[in-house]
């Protein structure tokens, strides 16, 4: 196989069809950019789960009565609740936080909003058991067992809040991946169309190739490589766009990330997912090219 010949054919083909080639590259780039966006969200959700999973707790809030009168959890029902929590299977640690400690913590959390701290009275803060579980997913057991018990005001599962937040991100991911799919379909049809046009404009060459006994590979390879080259350029453009967006995004929303509410997504993450995007581009364009040549183009 003469590679120089095949590549000169590829370059001729792409140049001759330059508007179609550009359209093909752009749709591929947008499609892969969206796919990459979806993958970044997946990574972000994973990181978030990792970040918070170890910190997730179940809070058992105690009634006002207990909070006011039992600073050390020495009396009933507080002491009973503590031993009941400690003996529940799957519980790792139980920490009692009385009203004063709770107020301190509240002040710390809302340090940045002094007016809120000013408004809050220690009496509004309940004493709390902070329960850490071996498996945060099993928080439901604690919630069920302790809700409504004497001295218990409410049982909050932080995992539930995190779950809702993650649901939002997962929804966003689904939308982005859905758009990527639609765009991928457009890219696919464009690739197929471009190959057909390309084969038509080169029908004389292809006719002569067939006549002088060129093998199927020799006649088809330039078209296939054309599709793959456009796919790869599309992937590179897509990854470039994604990197630009992530870079710009981290600058604009820097505070959101630095406050550690959302795990930061950096260029490294883009680099990590780029081989996937490149692989998808090569695979899809080669497959589309092959199927098109088989079905629609008589070579």
């Amino acid at each position: 196989m003469r590679t120089s010949f095949v590549f000169s054919e590829v370059v001729t083909g792409l140049r001759r069809n330059v508007t179609m080639t550009i359209a093909m590259i752009l749709t591929t780039a947008i499609s892969l950019g969206l796919l990459g966006g979806g993958l970044l969200i997946v990574r972000m959700v994973d990181k978030m789960q990792d970040n918070y999973q170890s910190k997730l707790e179940v809070s058992v809030l105690l009634t006002n009565d207990v909070s006011a009168n039992d600073k050390d959890c020495a009396q009933q029902p507080c002491a009973g609740l503590r031993s009941a929590l400690e003996t529940t299977s799957g519980v790792e640690t139980v920490v009692y936080e009385n009203r004063d400690k709770g107020y301190e913590r509240f002040k710390q959390i809302f340090e940045a909003q002094p007016e809120l701290v000013k408004l809050a009275r220690p009496e509004a803060i309940p004493a709390t058991f902070r329960v850490k579980l071996e498996d945060p997913a099993r928080a439901g057991v604690i919630v069920q067992a302790f809700t409504g018990k004497a001295g218990v005001k409410a049982v909050n599962d932080q995992g539930e809040f995190l779950g809702r937040l993650l649901d939002v991100f997962n929804g966003l991911r689904n939308i982005v991946l859905g758009l990527a799919l639609v765009q991928a379909l457009a890219a696919l049809l464009l690739i197929s169309n471009t190959i057909q046009v390309s084969a038509f404009t080169r029908r004389t060459e292809v006719g002569i190739m067939r006549l002088v006994g060129a093998t199927r590979w020799y006649t088809q390879l330039p078209f296939l490589i054309e599709a793959v080259v456009a796919g790869v350029i599309g992937a590179v453009v897509g990854v470039g766009g994604l990197a630009l967006m992530v870079w710009g995004g981290t600058r604009v929303s820097g505070e959101l990330f630095s406050s550690q509410i959302l795990p930061p997504m950096g260029l490294l993450d883009v680099v990590i997912i780029s081989p996937i995007l490149l692989g998808v581009a090569v695979f899809i364009s080669a497959l589309t090219g092959y199927v098109t040549l088989r079905l629609y183009v008589r070579l």
Partner: protein, 229 residues
């Protein structure tokens, strides 16, 4: 070299067979004219040899290829042993004379050093030395057909098929092309030429196979185009 055994070809779009129980044999090194009116089956005959078509019945042999039965994978090998020339030349307009000829070798994967050696040789053989870098549109019709013949012959095929090669040329130029085809025939290549050109057939006095309505109605060893025509 070429053998057809009871070959019939019926196209799906037609009820009348394009070829009807044709049996004929052509030896290595023969020069054969295939004549007959339009629609008599000449083109189908040539297309069967190239395996552009498969016969509805019968067997086709070219060299030691069983053309009708061979797998698709082997078709390129068959075509590499057959050269083709057409009435409309079929040159690539964006390539020079030398590039047009080299193209036929490039696409079957011949190495570069072979190509640079044999292309000038074959251009000299067809009388185009010195015109290697011309573009097809800078050449006369006869010269363009010489390029096409050079391209067909550059891989030294066993058989050269020519479909009305002089159809677009004036009589003098046609004579030159015929001389060239004779020269190629003398190298041992079997030449099969489909034509309507009376004067050429009459002056060459070679074997004539005449088709009419898909049947062979005449096969003369040293024939003319037609009695009384």
């Amino acid at each position: 070299m070429i053998r057809l055994e009871h070959v019939s070809k019926v196209y799906k779009t037609s009820t009348r067979p394009a070829l009807d129980n044709v049996s004929v044999e052509m030896d290595k090194g023969e020069f054969v004219f295939l004549i007959g009116p339009s629609g008599s089956g000449k083109s189908t005959f040539l297309r069967l040899l190239l395996r552009e078509e498969v016969p509805s019945k019968g067997r086709v042999y070219v060299s030691n290829f069983d053309v009708a039965k061979m797998s698709r994978r082997r078709v390129p090998r068959l075509r590499q042993s057959i050269g083709c020339v057409f009435q409309d030349f079929r040159l690539l307009t964006n390539k020079t004379v030398a590039e047009n000829v080299a193209f036929a070798l490039e696409v079957i994967g011949k190495p570069r050093n072979t190509i640079v050696k044999v292309v000038p040789e074959v251009l000299q053989l067809v009388g185009l030395d010195g015109k290697a870098d011309r573009m097809p549109h800078e050449l006369s019709g006869g010269e363009q057909q010489r390029v096409a013949i050079a391209r067909a012959f550059v891989n030294r095929p066993l058989v050269l098929l020519a479909d009305e090669p002089t159809g677009n040329l004036d009589p003098d130029t046609s004579q030159d092309i015929m001389l060239l085809l004779e020269r190629i025939n003398r190298t041992g290549t079997t030449v099969l030429m489909a034509t309507h050109d009376h004067s050429i057939v009459d002056s060459m006095r070679r074997r004539v196979v005449e088709l009419d309505h898909g049947r062979i109605i005449r096969d003369d060893a040293r024939g003319v185009y037609g009695v009384g025509r």
